[in-house]
Symmetry: C2
Subunit: 109 residues, 2 copies
DNA sequence: AATCTTTATCGTAATATTGCAATATACAAT
DNA sequence: ATTGTATATTGCAATATTACGATAAAGATT
């Protein structure tokens, strides 16, 4: 098949999996790193920094945008991509729920 | 190509991406959910709970094990799968680094 | 030893992801 | 209007993922 059957799982499980999937590639982690490190957010600079061709970077940016981890805004001729803090916050909440449950449980083996 | 070029990115970026990839499927999120929710950890119970065939679940468990998010130990005839807290802690550390940087930066657009 | 139970592996089909050259689009500047 | 600059889209090849039936492997039970 190759397609994960989303209907079989909860909305929350699918949401978590989708965010994880968006970050499941080192290039996309590198993009987030870059956006968090520098003042800038210009698409062209991201392309320059990454060791991948422009269309490939564009595709990765699209995936991050689809997952709402970043948002793009037109800046004259260029496009400015920024972290979407809302989604990151949601993600962190999901993960802190994991932590809380882990604290309570403690590994059994 | 279809294979992400890991050599082009930092060890840390690849590590993060690998953990994310392991959790980038709702079935695998569901497995973690289950392990955090119940006392048990028996493979057969996970198979019963998930809406997927036994070989498919086994495959998902293998991926979680490869990413060291869970660890398996033989329990008589059965196998007990448990959360590997060490990797989760590492994951959380990576993410809190993101948070700290996000705090400092604040979205520019 | 024969059988049952539990889990893993193999083989294979369907689909998704990754990467890039070529090309399109869209806005700037001349 | 033409040219340049920045980004997106298309098309395609290579590879990876997902799913499951069939089967294997290994320990438990009779």
């Amino acid at each position: 098949m190759g397609a994960s059957n989303t209907e079989l799982f909860t909305k929350r499980q699918n949401e978590i999996a989708n965010i994880m999937k968006a970050l499941a590639h080192p290039a996309r982690v590198a993009i987030i790193d870059y956006l968090l490190k520098t003042e800038g957010c210009i698409c062209g600079d991201i392309v320059k920094v990454l060791p991948l061709a422009q269309p490939t970077v564009s595709q990765h940016l699209k995936e991050l945008k689809n997952a709402e981890l970043i948002k793009g805004s037109i800046e004259g001729n260029a496009i400015c991509y920024c972290i979407n803090e809302k989604t990151f916050l949601k993600f962190q909440q999901f993960l802190s729920e994991f932590s809380i449950k882990m604290e309570k449980k403690k590994s059994c083996c």
